[in-house]
């Protein structure tokens, strides 16, 4: 069959259409102009003009995480591509599917230090799942379809295509997606049957089991969360979620113990520590989660389900590693559980849950309420209470204490409604991510829970948000500090608050106004509810500047180098347990 010939730029646009893409995030420049010319002459794809390329990638991440689709970014060569690097690294760490097109100088100039040239594929090789430099228009259509396939298959991630200007101007055949099959990249999705049988048998034997599930459940699609919840119900086992997994089982589920890890709940961490079987599903034993490795869950057997074989036995050696997609493996496990007529050891599980209830009784998330000053925890709690009746609330965050408080105090009932930068921990993620979420869900209530320091990192995207009339709500827990940094300095560096206080913060109410948004402020607990209600009721972009206690720290906390059973539950604990030398070097 003869394929139609067209310019590279046109091939790109046609490929996006055929991939079902309706929105792209980008910023033009010399090397990518042919593509922008082509975008101008069509109306199937909406282009969102960001204010900095970093915003484009985070925007695409929010879009992708909230829809399950691939996010698309278009930037120019040189500074355009280097500005995109942080977002690519972020998407790689958090397994977010992105395809990023970068303009490049024409092929005959590559390597000559041409204007706005940089070695984009070299720079982005370690922070993408895969990348391509397309040297001929005839390869372009195939490469683009392959890139989408790679981005969304297996463990999702960012894929970059470097596009020299002569390739987008030249002519080549347009090959449709159906005619492109990847030769070698075929990730395994079906779990090994024998291992699944063994794992399920192990579960039926367990006395103190726990499900420890993560972002991979979200990556696998909403069905995975349904199946997980079903399996949790069938077995009666307790379940904890990572930061990336929140929403994979409803927060209101009676067996849900909250988040685990450094700022996880007392009950979740002690349950991990005391368990005899951990069933890890789409979670990667991150150091924020395990604490000191040689003290991690010392008596537990471990089952690990992950689509990426390199996640298995990486940090923690497991007894059964099952490579496959969460949905497929859970389907098979539930089937085996039913077919073999397995029952959990009811008496043992009841004892175990009683023990966990006791731990819960410590009420580890308690904080001292005040009528004088807004406690940040209280602010999130009220935000949750005043929005939880709605089905369509999406929360994004920046990075810091506010992020952890959001994870602890906002309850997520469904997957894909919580967007946060977990692996890279990128301040400045939340605002552009919220913009991406709102574009995909125009009528939803999208709230960026922010810190006053983080929000400054991509504040320019307020202008994009204004341009597209996106009613994003920015809920700033303003403690005037890089709170998370201040907390570490208090605990580890003798209270020497080196460079963690920022003077000359903007007046966020006026700043909102300058960006065409509405600015609100709450300074006292008595004003909080009204401000939240007003923020929600305004059908426009809002920045709510919530002045919170500057000295509040985020607890519980497993200090660096400590184990799950060595948590600090509050300020009173810190004097008793000095942080070890080994812990000091950790981040």
């Amino acid at each position: 069959m003869a394929y139609e010939e067209m310019t590279g730029a046109k091939i790109l646009v046609q490929a996006l259409i055929d991939q079902g893409i309706t929105d792209v995030f980008g910023y033009p420049g010399g090397a990518i102009l042919p593509v922008y010319d082509e975008l101008f002459q069509q109306n199937q794809i909406r282009h969102v003009l960001v204010r900095q390329e970093g915003g484009a990638v985070h925007g695409a991440e929010g879009y992708a995480r909230s829809t399950g689709k691939v996010g698309v970014v278009i930037v120019t060569s040189g500074p355009g591509s280097t500005n995109a690097v942080t977002g690519l690294a972020d998407a790689l760490m958090d397994s977010i599917p992105i395809v990023c097109f970068c303009g490049q100088v024409p092929t005959h100039l590559i390597g000559n230090d041409a204007f706005q040239e940089c070695d984009t594929t070299g720079i982005t090789r370690p922070c993408t799942k895969h990348n391509y430099l397309v040297k001929s228009t005839k390869d372009l259509a195939r490469t683009i379809h392959e890139a989408f396939y790679v981005a969304r298959s297996g463990r999702p991630g960012p894929v970059l295509i470097d596009l020299p200007k002569d390739v987008s101007l030249g002519l080549g055949p347009y090959i449709p997606p159906a005619d492109v099959v990847h030769k070698t990249y075929q990730p395994r999705v079906e779990g090994d049957r024998a291992l699944i049988e063994q794992a399920v048998a192990m579960m039926a034997e367990a006395k103190r089991p726990i499900f420890y599930c993560g972002g991979g459940v979200i990556n696998s699609g909403p069905r995975a969360s349904e199946l997980l919840t079903q399996f949790v119900n069938m077995t009666g086992f307790p379940v904890t979620l990572t930061l990336m997994g929140l929403g994979a089982v409803p927060a209101s589920h009676p067996q849900f113990l909250g988040m685990l890890g450094m700022h996880g709940t007392y009950e979740a961490n002690l349950a991990m520590h005391g368990s005899d079987l951990i069933i890890a599903i789409g979670s990667r034993f991150d150091d924020r989660v395990t604490g000191r490795l040689n003290a991690f869950a010392p008596n537990a057997k471990k089952i690990h389900i992950d689509i990426d074989p390199s996640s298995i036995n990486k940090n923690v050696l497991v007894d059964i590693g099952i490579v496959g997609d969460v949905t497929r493996v859970l389907e098979a496990m539930i089937e085996v559980w039913k077919a073999r007529g397995y029952k959990a050891d009811a008496a043992a599980i009841a004892d175990w849950r009683r023990q966990i209830e006791e731990w819960k009784g410590r009420n580890c998330l308690a904080y001292r309420h005040s009528d004088e000053i807004i406690k940040p925890q209280h602010a999130i709690k009220r935000l949750y209470e005043l929005t939880k009746h709605r089905e369509d609330v999406f929360i994004t965050t920046e990075v810091g204490q506010h992020q952890m408080w959001a994870a602890q105090f906002y309850g997520f009932e469904k997957p894909n409604h919580w967007m946060t930068s977990g692996g890279l921990g990128t301040m400045g993620y939340g605002l552009p991510a919220a913009m991406g979420v709102q574009l995909a869900h125009p009528d939803a209530l999208v709230i960026d829970i922010a810190g006053e320091a983080s929000i400054m990192m991509n504040i320019q995207e307020m202008s994009t948000i204004n341009q597209y009339r996106l009613p994003v709500k920015v809920f700033i827990l303003n403690n005037e500090y890089m709170g998370m940094v201040r907390q570490w300095q208090e605990l580890l560096h003798g209270g020497r608050y080196s460079q963690s206080y920022m003077s000359s913060l903007p007046d966020f109410v006026k700043l909102a106004d300058a960006f065409g948004a509405v600015g609100l402020r709450a300074e006292k607990p008595s004003e909080l509810d009204d401000v939240i209600k007003e923020m929600i009721s305004i059908d426009r972009t809002v920045i709510a500047d919530i002045r919170v206690d500057k000295a509040e720290n985020c607890f519980p906390m497993i200090p660096s180098g400590a184990a799950h059973n060595e948590m600090l539950l509050g300020p009173q604990d810190k004097a008793e347990q000095p942080i070890s030398e080994e812990g000091m070097v950790l981040v």
Binding site: R125, P126, N131, R155, Y185, D308, S310, N313, L317
Partner: protein, 169 residues
């Protein structure tokens, strides 16, 4: 489960698409994740399919070796990763060119070359270049013996390896 902590040497054969950047990907993976490379060789072995074979000699604990293989398998242009060290008997070979200069040790160097079945591939009045093929330890033994005899230069290919028996990768 707990893993033994002692380092092991493994020879890993990787079949990859021969496309630009593939070697950088593999090398970047090793340097970025702090793995050892004792030797790395690469050449196209199936030109009609555009496939190259990379032979890597590395060392690490069992857990690290497992990670290395899984990380290699994650790379999109990688077809197969085989750990020759654990997959059965295999043959390992390396070639070295060894230059010895000066007149004092000429006879002795020829005698040793003969024992090691090294060939003379270049000679002048005051130098020889020997070509020697074998396992890396044999090459090392030869090079060590050449040192007092005027060794001035060595070039080594790095290890190539292949499984014994009829099976292909």
């Amino acid at each position: 489960m707990s893993a033994p902590n002692n380092n092991q040497r493994h020879t890993i054969a990787v079949l990859v698409d021969n496309e630009p950047g593939v070697l950088a990907r593999v090398v970047g993976l090793f340097s970025g994740r702090g793995y050892n490379i004792e030797s790395l060789t690469v050449a196209e072995t199936k030109p009609e399919a555009g496939v190259s074979r990379i032979t890597i000699v590395t060392s690490g604990t069992i857990q690290i070796i497992e990670q290395i293989k899984n990380q290699l398998r994650r790379l999109v242009p990688v077809h197969t990763v085989s750990d020759l060290t654990i997959e059965g008997p295999h043959v390992e070979r390396e070639l070295a060119l060894v230059k010895v200069s000066g007149t004092a040790g000429r006879v002795e160097s020829l005698r040793i070359a003969d024992i090691f079945r090294a060939r003379v591939v270049d000679s002048t009045n005051e130098s020889f270049v020997f070509e020697i093929v074998g396992r890396p330890d044999k090459l090392e033994a030869f090079i060590k013996l050449m040192k007092p005899l005027g060794l001035v230069d060595v070039a080594r290919t790095g290890v190539v390896a292949i499984a014994r028996g009829p099976q292909a990768l």
